[in-house]
Amino acid sequence: MSTLSEHLIEEIRELPAKYPQPRSAVMPALDLAQEEVGYLTAEAMSEVAAALKLDPGYVEGVATFYTLFHLQPIGKHRFYVCTNLSCTLRGANEIVAHVKGAVGVHEAGELSKDGLFSYEEVECLGACEYAPVMRLDHRYERDLTPSKIDALIAERRSLATPSAVEPPHPALRADLPAKRGGKKRTTKGG
């Protein structure tokens, strides 16, 4: 049984035709896989490689290079908090500390108990005029303050009431490997 759904693999097989050379499909394909599974498991990457007729090692090499590909489970809502210079000058470190306390985690990447939240410190998001900023659920949240963070969290918690229809978050699915080993990256190539 495969990790990716059959129709997704079909969709991935059709991607290469959209580009002048088929290899360009690798990132869009990984994107689709990550969206479906929640993060990139070794199995998901192998299946992407097979669908694109690429070497699995090559696909993993691409996935590990870019910060938006996640090789470990992430919260349903991920806080990508900018801590580069412009944001730090305007209180980004305090924002990070507040996020940690508010969702109850100790370090970047750690999942909150309900699986809803995780955070990471990221480099410049290109919205320096709104510092401190973060990316959350595909949108930028700007001019952050502790109370804004609290409101964003409360809003998401209230929407997260368990429903019979909604499948469990991928990070909490028992049929997927819980956590891949691997050290924290310091340099992309190193």
Binding site: M27, N84, L89, G126, C128
Partner: protein
Amino acid sequence: MAEQRGTVGGPVLTEWFATPDLHKLDVYESLGGYSALGKVVKEMTAAQVIDEVKASGLRGRGGADFPTATKWSFVPKDHPGPKYIVVNADESEPGSAKDRYLMENSPHMLIEGAAIASFAIGGHAAWIYIRGEYDLPFEMLRDAIAEAHAKGYLGDHPFGTDYPLDVRLYRGHGAYICGEETALLESLEGKRAQPRSRPPFPAVKGAWGMPTAVNNVETLSTVPWIMRRGGAEYAKRGTEKSKGTRMVTVSGDVQKPGNYEIEIGVTYRHIIEELAGGPMPGRKIKVFWPGGSSAKVLPASMLDTSTDLDGLKALGTMGGSGGIIVMDDSHCVVKGAARLLRFYAFESCGKCTPCRVGGNWAVRTYERILAGQGSQIELGILERVSDGLQNGRCLCGLGDAAGWVIESTMRHFHNEYEEHSLHNVCSVEAALVNA
């Protein structure tokens, strides 16, 4: 449409920005949008387009400051296969947010510019490589491209002609190095984004091995205006050697951070004190990065420096990507530099040894200094690492930029480095405690 902050109603790029719903095709068109592309494909030759842009004096706004028309003219005219325009929308330079601002306000402006550029190099497709974090600009561009196709401005017969034009989108996935043009091309081809050795230059062998011109968002967004109003009209703005206007992003310790369109040649004092409202009450500006974190810093005593690009070059720094980061007297330069070195070390792609090793070496040295374990030895290491990172020892400029941060902050603020390194004292923090 996102809420926006900054000056609106400026003379060139932001000319129409006060108009609501400018991101919709009918609004953009009602103001004169796509008239330039229509004129170009129906009435002009590629050589005429290049000549008009040449007359404007437009130079690349991504940081390299290279004349746009010259770059286009390097693309071989007799090449039999496809040729590409690749739009660098990977804006990741710390302090720079202007490309996002332009795309969120007027996606059609970029699409029109990219299509004109494709025509000018004899190509039929432009690829916009946009950083993955820019969800909203991506969605706006996607919708705008669909609108332009539906209206017949892009496609097989734009404006009823037989010259196919298309603009395509490709999303990045988080890597500063993709702002470097050859790394961007690698990424676009589905690889790890590691810079290529040059030659061959992209104009000869670029995207998918084909002749390619890589242009910044702001550069191409300026092109429709130049084609509407004429290169000579654009060249009236700016200084003799740096024509026109440009976008700057002001961030950090100022009262009104924002994106502002300036006429090139105004001083940094004008931008920081007038446009961005100056320092916070009771504070004094200490230092500023004139063109993104990769530009060598200037102390507040040099606020009267002009934004003229050649003038900045003479000072050893640059206007870069227009990101002006301002730091006031409540912040420590050593800590600021240490933060930026962490950035450069993390974002090093790892291909060239001086950058991969040097960046991490600098980070560890800064950590020792800030932990109170510094000495004269640490200061010496920083100087040597800074030198080792610079002077073309790597395939791209990332290593140089890291070295410039160390070198320029040490040159202008050696006292702060000495206090930290030799005496374990942060006079900035001490002053705040005593205030």
